[in-house]
Amino acid sequence: MKRRLFGLIFLLGIFFGCKEKPAPTPAASAGPGPSGSGAPTADKPKPGKELNLFAWSEYVPQEVIDGFSKETGIKVNYETYASNEEMLSKLLAGGTNYDLIQPSEYVIEALVKQKKLAPIDWSLVPNFKNIDPKLKGLAHDPENKYSVPWMTGTVGIVVNTDKIKDPIKGYKDVFQKKYKGRIVSLNDSREMVAWALEASGLKSNDITPENLAKVKPMLAEWVKLVKVFDSDSPKTAFLNGDVDIGVVWSGEAALLYQNNKKFSYILPEEGAHLFIDSLAIPDSAPNKVGAMMFMDYILRPEVSKLVSEKFPYTNPNLEARKLLTPDQLANPASYPPAGERETFRDIGKIASEVDKLVTDLKASN
């Protein structure tokens, strides 16, 4: 009987001791080695051997990673997430020591407030000059210290023009009684509240208890009309023919447009907002120099172009845009007409009120 127990302990020992070996990463990723910003040599700081990239799934094409590794000899471990919130919760709970993360603007602002990001040494990222000047110095990173824009996009309206012939201009045209059961919406309380604020003539970032109370009746009506809430893949409901109109990410709209030109994309007239997915370096990153080299690498026009080919968002890299095909530039969801657009700000604790509001409305449905 005891033999069996020892056997079990022995097995556990083997498994704890050796299981890590077959994985391609040795323990190097765990300990903050001698490299990194801690010990820069006299003239040129040396990067670490590995780079732990924590980014949206598929957002960083394999070619880009392979190209970077080939050129620098730095091995890139690409770990993925599917939403800003997912990333934040793993980062805060203490995942691996990531070198590079890819949050959207309001998350960058929150992380800066909590002093969780490392400032970028721009002398190592000269290609930052390629970025659209309009995207520099925005509210979430006013001094351009912490982030490099990766891709930007908008939230707007998709209409199946085969089914809906009325002109659609804004949120109020989408959420109409006659479209009940034909509407898809992002499953995102912050977004929905922002739309209702914009439709009421308020600013999307003016989230106060009073304003929430003001838009509540409007949202209550909207929630009743929606057939599907989906943030991950709202295009599915369109492609399946289950909905004809909705408010979605521009990337989803661009994919729909690529699939069939009947899906048109409209920026709401009440005010559209812009999101900026960026690269940033966590304070605890062991390989900060490598992270900055990666930033500079992806800012090269020919590399940035590869991302655009895979993801039909708006490329913030003006030099890369020159390399795109006319077809890519003609996609109205990728490159909508220019205009002044708000970005989301960090709203801190009131986020829970926003979530509660939408949960209440859905539950009373």
Binding site: L8, F229, T236, N240, D242, S352, T359, K362, A363
Partner: protein, 292 residues
């Protein structure tokens, strides 16, 4: 060699573990202690704390998270989750029992194959499987085409994104977890007992109610637990097949660690669900767990 399932004999069961017993139980207890109790305690501590701007824990002590749990909205959502879980469990039991029985009575050499065949569909990815169901149920999908072709309906049925679709999805996902534990009990049924019941003139219903059901009760209880408990927290199926219009308790908890940025409250919700379960379990099980 097959042991008969007689009435539990308490004589032999009244055994204290002794040193050897505790040693043998050590791996199980250690595992429970390290990977179940310790993390649960972390969350229990969190549930009494306050939060900062990012929703992270600030160590203070207050009951406020627990008073918020009893908000009518959350209670309603919890009831709804339990309701869906109960429906799923009931349908799985009715649909799955005969299958478990049939597999358990099948020739010995094919039983394990049949069991594996019940499970193998679930060795595909959940999302791919669910998208397949969505394709089947959508208004322009094959199910509607078939029904229209057969003349059973004249306009396409709206199934996807309704509670019906949710129940189909839930039953589909949990059915094997009902069938497999019941099979374990059916398989040990003594053929002679069943035949005797029939020989004594009992119809299928009587034979089932008075002989088969009581003897397979442990399997039924296990199946009900393995379906009902995980189904309470399920939300991926309601989101995808129901269009996320009705929040489940799983959604609410998930959101606290995401957009709502309120970890302590999420922990309090989780702990409440846990306590409700533990209390129910404690009150409904007998002291003798071999009867569970």
């Amino acid at each position: 060699m097959t042991p008969t399932a007689g009435l539990p004999d308490t004589r032999g069961a009244e055994r204290a573990p002794g040193l050897r017993g505790w040693l043998l139980m050590a791996p199980l207890l250690a595992w429970l202690g390290a990977f179940v109790i310790a993390p649960t305690l972390i969350m229990l501590v969190y549930s009494f704390c306050d939060r900062d701007e990012l929703g992270q824990v600030v160590f203070t002590f207050s009951w406020s998270n627990y008073t918020r749990v009893f908000d009518p909205t959350y209670l309603k959502i919890l009831l709804k989750s339990v309701y869906y879980a109960a429906i799923t469990t009931a349908i799985c039991l009715v649909v799955g029992y005969p299958v478990a029985y049939w597999v358990g009575r099948a020739p010995e050499r094919v039983r394990n194959k049949l069991l594996a065949l019940i499970m193998i569909p679930f060795w595909t990815s959940f999302l791919i499987r669910t998208y397949a169901w969505m394709t089947i149920l959508k208004s322009e999908g094959p199910l509607n085409s078939l029904l229209l072709y057969l003349g059973m309906i004249s306009t396409p049925l709206d199934i996807l994104y309704t509670p019906t679709a949710v129940v189909i999805g839930l039953v589909y996902s949990y059915l094997p977890f009902m069938i497999l534990p019941i099979y374990g009990s059916v398989e040990k049924l003594d053929n002679a007992l069943v035949e005797a019941a029939f020989d004594l003139g009992a119809g299928p219903v009587r034979a089932f109610a008075s002989v088969i059901a009581p003897l397979t009760r442990p399997g039924i209880v296990a199946g009900v637990m393995l379906v009902f408990i995980p189904a309470i927290g399920m939300f991926a199926i309601t989101d995808l097949m129901g269009g996320a219009r009705v929040p489940m308790i799983g959604n609410v908890i998930q959101n606290q660690f995401g957009q709502a940025r309120d970890w302590p409250f999420g922990a309090a919700l989780g702990m409440t669900v846990l306590l409700l379960f533990a209390a129910t379990f404690w009150l409904t099980t007998k002291k003798d767990p071999s009867a569970t």
